[in-house]
Amino acid sequence: MAVQCRVFNTTYNPERLRMGTHILHQRLKGASVASYYPPRIGTIKQLRALYPDFEILHDKEEDWLEAQQVARSRGKAPPKKKRTAAESKKFNKRR
């Protein structure tokens, strides 16, 4: 029995005590579980980091910037961010 355990690399346990070795024998499945969903690849930012000498256009961002420009020229841009608590109070104009 002892020889068999040595050959097959199992724990020699003739008294059949509960040693919990079956848990040590279990394979870790975390890596395969965590890779279920595909990763996010091929974004414009990643491409720019990979190829810094190429100019990569981001159509959506450019459209957005243009719309912002137009809105600003028409005076429709979003208001400036408030920096202090007094500024950010909603009804602190004049009573």
């Binding site: 040693m19 919990g20 079956h22 848990i23 040590l24 579980v33 279920y36 595909p38």
Partner: protein, 113 residues
């Protein structure tokens, strides 16, 4: 449990909050799996003193629920569905049908006899 969530989106599939949450759980589980297994080993090993085993039990019970494998659920990567998901294709049954008919799944053919 947004403390575990990635600060930047790292999913390339269909995105809704349930998919993001499940992805987070999977990553937390993978991170904590060795610790959990070690605690489980201590608990199951009757040759350790009772006090040590009880402490390990407490410690395992006090770990965050996201570190538990039972929290993980297979979801459809193209529609976010949680039910009727083929684990081989990671697709919900309707998405599976659409993709199979379109020929996106190699080896899948409509049966007819």
């Amino acid at each position: 449990m947004s403390q575990f969530r990635a600060k930047k989106l790292d999913l390339g599939c269909y995105i809704n909050i349930r998919n993001i949450r499940d992805h987070t759980k999977r990553k937390v589980f993978a991170e904590n799996e060795p610790e959990r297994q070690a605690l489980r080993y201590i608990i199951r090993n009757t040759t350790f003193p009772q006090r040590v085993r009880a402490q390990a039990q407490l410690q395992l019970a006090q770990m965050h629920c996201y570190t538990r494998y039972t929290q993980v659920k297979n979801r459809c990567i193209m529609g976010g569905k949680g039910r009727g998901v083929f684990s081989d294709f990671r697709l919900g049954r309707y998405q599976f049908r659409l993709n199979a008919l379109a020929g996106h799944l190699p080896g899948v053919k409509k049966a007819s006899w």
